[in-house]
Symmetry: C2
Subunit: 331 residues, 2 copies
Amino acid sequence: MAERADLDVVGIGNALVDVLSHADDKLVTRLGLVKGTMSLVDEPRAREIYEATGPGVEISGGSAANTIVGVASFGGRAQYIGKVSNDQLGEVFGHDLRSTGVLYDTRPAKGGPATGRCLILVTPDAQRTMGTFLGASVQLGPGDIDTRLIASARIIYLEGYLFDPPAAQEAFRAAAGLAHAAGRKVALTLSDPFCVDRHRAAFLDLVERHVDILFANEAEICALYQVSDFDAALSRVVGHCEIAALTRSAKGSVLVGGGKTHVIEAHPVQSLVDTTGAGDLYASGVLYGLSRGLDLAACGRLGSLAAAEVISHVGARPMVPLSSLTGSVIG
Amino acid sequence: MAERADLDVVGIGNALVDVLSHADDKLVTRLGLVKGTMSLVDEPRAREIYEATGPGVEISGGSAANTIVGVASFGGRAQYIGKVSNDQLGEVFGHDLRSTGVLYDTRPAKGGPATGRCLILVTPDAQRTMGTFLGASVQLGPGDIDTRLIASARIIYLEGYLFDPPAAQEAFRAAAGLAHAAGRKVALTLSDPFCVDRHRAAFLDLVERHVDILFANEAEICALYQVSDFDAALSRVVGHCEIAALTRSAKGSVLVGGGKTHVIEAHPVQSLVDTTGAGDLYASGVLYGLSRGLDLAACGRLGSLAAAEVISHVGARPMVPLSSLTGSVIG
């Protein structure tokens, strides 16, 4: 039996600063990027993309970090683990996390690559296409995972992207093992269909053996099971893990768990500006709800609410406290 | 007689990256800042302010740099002179300028202080309050002023803020002298009422002897002449320089020149989000108009148009090409 949990959620991911700029579809194609997805790029390629894009806005990002900020914004007690360098963008990343109430004390790397950056091209249809230079985030290793910290959180949340740097894979498995040993829940987001392609066998094994709560969008869950339609994927995921929360953009989301399937509508959005962070913030609502013992349908509604907030403005983190918006959703 | 001008406007200013965050009036007061104004702060004080503020957005700024980006956005040929450090934020600053079509080749400083930052607290009324750590921008000196470059621009534009770092004062006077020697026009913005208080005697002398085109808002022009109302200031500025363009926020602007006074209404704004950059972009419209030989009233309307665009979103630089908006204003 687990002890009292001091934290609701601990998230582990690649610590990145987003560089957002507007671009047209032609530029996305010319740069060889695939619209709506994330490509890993090395430093020279990151430079090439950066030099081809217009003026940018720098704003802290990182998938799991965005989710953890969302959990804190709902009023949850949350901590983040991820690696920056001791440079200006690393300082920005740490400041922005801590100033939202998230606990964050991963030691910055010294020397080595700069803080990781995600170059995000936002097209006029509000879609985002990403080129990620992982930078210092690859230096996250098992030594950065604090046993007591992991044991103290109801849920540990891992991003699939974290599987790209090899040392982080170890940190990832170590954290999952520690969490289960302490009687905690392990949540995973598949992050991106290309990321699933890169690590399919490992992800299937993880879901089978370690993951209690799985997050994925339609493309990702289809990529995991190598099926071409959502219903086929849905029938596969049932029974594969305790809870699955699957997002379908404007079609809302489907949550399965406890033998039931809940179809949740997307929360209405006045004006769609930038879809960056939609999935990250959806996860924050579900995780917050689960940590507070809400039923699955209510968790899904909180997810939709958070996603709707973040896609109505530029940037992947909420601009108003999510706790101020929940009245209409969970009464 | 001046030779053919290769450039429309060359701007010289403090090169800064803005760090924008939302704040309430209480926080502005608690930090000892004066709402709506700019305070110079040293590095420890900048850190204190930064640590007290919420999550930020990093976006290239600097008053004259914003203006020069506006000139380029109208379709003008523009160059910027200002000093960053060879660090991450310095790279961001250079990228953002060049990617908007502005020429920029001031050599970055090595070692010494980091790239300068302007911490901007945006209150719910869309007003902004600024704490500026000048950083590397103080290292701009006369050696950074290229004689041929100055001689090749129709107008040289200087920001009053540039008077704060002593070495820049020299660069400032050198540039004004070079411009006049080449038969070019010298424009100055007074920047901020506190900045005027710090340098009143020098500014009065500059306006008297060197400035052809003066930009100021109501508070700044009243501070310059130490009068308490706008009409008194207006009567003083007539005859003191060739052209004065005076902004009055929602009340629009007044331009005087050639023995005439033009009262220009503010351009309508659908939703006021963040007033950062309003004065900078107003100046860009007037400068672009003047460089293209438009009459003063049309210059003022271009200024109002550019200001309206920039206060309708976060950040101090236009989000759409200003050249795409001018149809309604200059036909």
